[in-house]
Symmetry: D2
Subunit: 230 residues, 4 copies
């Protein structure tokens, strides 16, 4: 796991959310674009499509794929929920946990990280500020993605608008568990935002509309990828 994680860094993780541009056939198109950019630049691009699209995308690309959420339940009577074993079988390698649009109780985050780890999946826990990041660090996820909710979808990049949230997060998280890899997200729209995020000490970015709703996703994703190599 740890060796694998390193190979991925720096990581551009694209959350497809429930955008039409990231659904079904269009989701597969976007995945193919990401594969192309990844191959051309030699940078790792992770994809977090909707549950319904994971299996098919996993068959057409070799990029690491993440679920957008997962439940901690063991197999049983949980109609409509997201079974970790089901995600595992799609060939996804990990999952977002506690995204600001799908918040969890602290005891659920703890249980989910354990379940995910037991299955050999990677956990990427989203947090909203430095305090919550430190708190999450004590639960030992693989990744923490700090995303101030007030900047999500705004185009105002966290890496420029609130750099101190990112640097404080890094400092506090590392104090509690130095093995955790840190991404930042919210408002990341171009290569300069990505560069700024890396300069702050993160190992990559979590991005959604900036790529999925971009007019020319190939061009924008290429710009993101190249920014990570400078």
């Amino acid at each position: 796991m740890d060796a694998l994680k390193k190979l991925w860094l720096p990581l551009i993780l694209v959350n497809f959310k429930t955008y039409l541009e990231g659904t079904g056939r269009k989701a597969r198109g976007l995945a193919e674009i990401a594969q192309k950019v990844s191959d051309e630049v030699g940078v790792c691009i992770g994809l977090a499509p909707q549950y319904t699209d994971i299996a098919q995308i996993a068959r057409i690309v070799s990029l690491p794929i993440f679920s957008q959420h997962i439940d901690h339940y063991v197999p049983g009577s949980f109609t409509g929920h997201i079974l970790p074993e089901a995600i595992k079988e799609t060939k996804a390698v990990g999952t977002l946990i506690n995204h600001s649009e799908r918040r969890l109780c602290i005891s659920e985050i703890d249980a989910t990280i354990r379940r995910v780890k037991d299955l050999g999946l990677i956990s990427v826990v989203c947090t909203n500020n430095a305090n919550v990041s430190a708190s999450t660090a004590a639960l030992n996820p693989d990744f923490i993605a700090i995303e101030p909710p007030e900047l999500i979808g705004t185009g105002i990049p966290v890496s420029k608008a609130k750099p101190q949230i990112v640097t404080t997060t890094i400092k506090q998280v590392k104090k509690i568990n130095p093995a955790i890899t840190i991404l930042c997200g919210a408002g990341i729209s171009n290569g300069a935002d990505v560069s700024a995020a890396l300069k702050l000490g993160t190992n990559g970015v979590l991005v959604a509309s900036g790529i999925v709703k971009a007019k020319r996703p190939y061009k924008t994703l290429m710009e993101f990828a190249q920014a990570t190599t400078k």
Copy 2:
């Protein structure tokens, strides 16, 4: 839609829940068994697998497939949720709504039925008693599936243990909207339970562990199917 619905009746609707026996490769195996039984007996069998499995199952069988849950959101920023357009694109024909393991607010059920209808999908709303069934009828879903939660997974069939819940549901629902098709579920384990359900006036059954966790699913499902033809 209405003509299609009629063709399906009587309907055996199999909820795969998050059972291991209904996940991934095993879910596809179960879907193939259902196709075989449906072809042999000439009875409609609907399938409600997990989100991650819908698309692949839809490609290997010609049975009507339902999501286990759906959100009413329009495309946008709803990470980890179930977009109706995404379900539509998997080739599912409809969705369970408000299953006892995934309850919704009354205003959400209303919004979900509308969204689902706009996309040409079939709504199957689960209810827990006759009162809630009548209440749901006023929201005009295609199907209501009455399932007393205290019997779910017990093997004690609602059609025998609580027939009056089923008959009162039928009476009250029809008074409010006679176009709604009624299924019953909870504890349905063999052909006699299915026969009893139909004799009470339902148009089919919603079943989960009775089939998915059966020792010999082909044999049990065959028994269910044959019971609908008597």
Copy 3:
């Protein structure tokens, strides 16, 4: 109960929400103003203060007092929840249920109405449109308060901006259960809005900021009260 309900009509029901102007000492001040207006005009004014204030307000006024929410649980291990028996003992006479800021599952609304009825308390279920009102009618609450959420707190009165939502609600609810009393709310700010609501066929209004955050609550509430007598 039914005789009591009639005595109250037309009803001005004031939801104190969690406004500072409706908290603690100020809540008691507002309750005294309501008592004064009620006495002077001979019109019933109901009050829905916060849980923490109910008991003290019940001791200083003789107006009917409602909880803002209630849980359907029976006495037991439900830390932090609202026990119907606790509300009963404060001398409140009833409760709001399913306010748009505190939505419930349909099966919870059903269970809550039953619990409340068993204790001799009055149920006032809030709904967001005519469909959901009809659906709620099948659960047989005492009152339905129709409040389009998009107008709540705007000062744009439902009784003028969306009269058809109110009249359709009345028609559909009465068809299912003519014994239910109907209030409307959202944006009600002055006497003319109250008059308009009554002319549409309601038996009163549910109001919050229009009174609680009014610059001169006595004057505004007096205007509301007088409007009901014309």
Copy 4:
């Protein structure tokens, strides 16, 4: 605050839950018993009654009173929720947060602790295991009460059945923030359980049914109190 906290230790904190024996008139009776025991033994007993009872209990006893839950909202449109300012005005001195029967998102716990601190109230965050306790410590509450949910209400005391959960919690919490005071709870039923809890290094216990549903609350509470003085 810190001086005050010290005066209270060791603390016996009694959660009244929504037991009938802890509601209304009976809640006040129980509060008077607690006052008597506290006065006689010279030990601090905290009380966490239902919202509806806080104000009246605060007037008849001089013990520290806690809410069972609180919301982090600022004054506004949050019908049916628990405004910190409203709790403050009842004369409660603090609140339970994240009880296992009222779980919160991690970002809500963070926001709630801040709100509570800003108002000069004491935060007592409940946790379910050592990991979640460590995680909570990073959010800097005043108290952490570790309660393994599987033991709550069983009469099997955490301090004897799972001492290592308590000691690991203390160790991990102190490493992150040594200023946090630690209680333990679940299954605490007699003086020996209280002694065991203190010997493990806690500063007191969180108890519910053990006192509230005791046949002779005065006798049992007296036993608890005396156990803290040995």
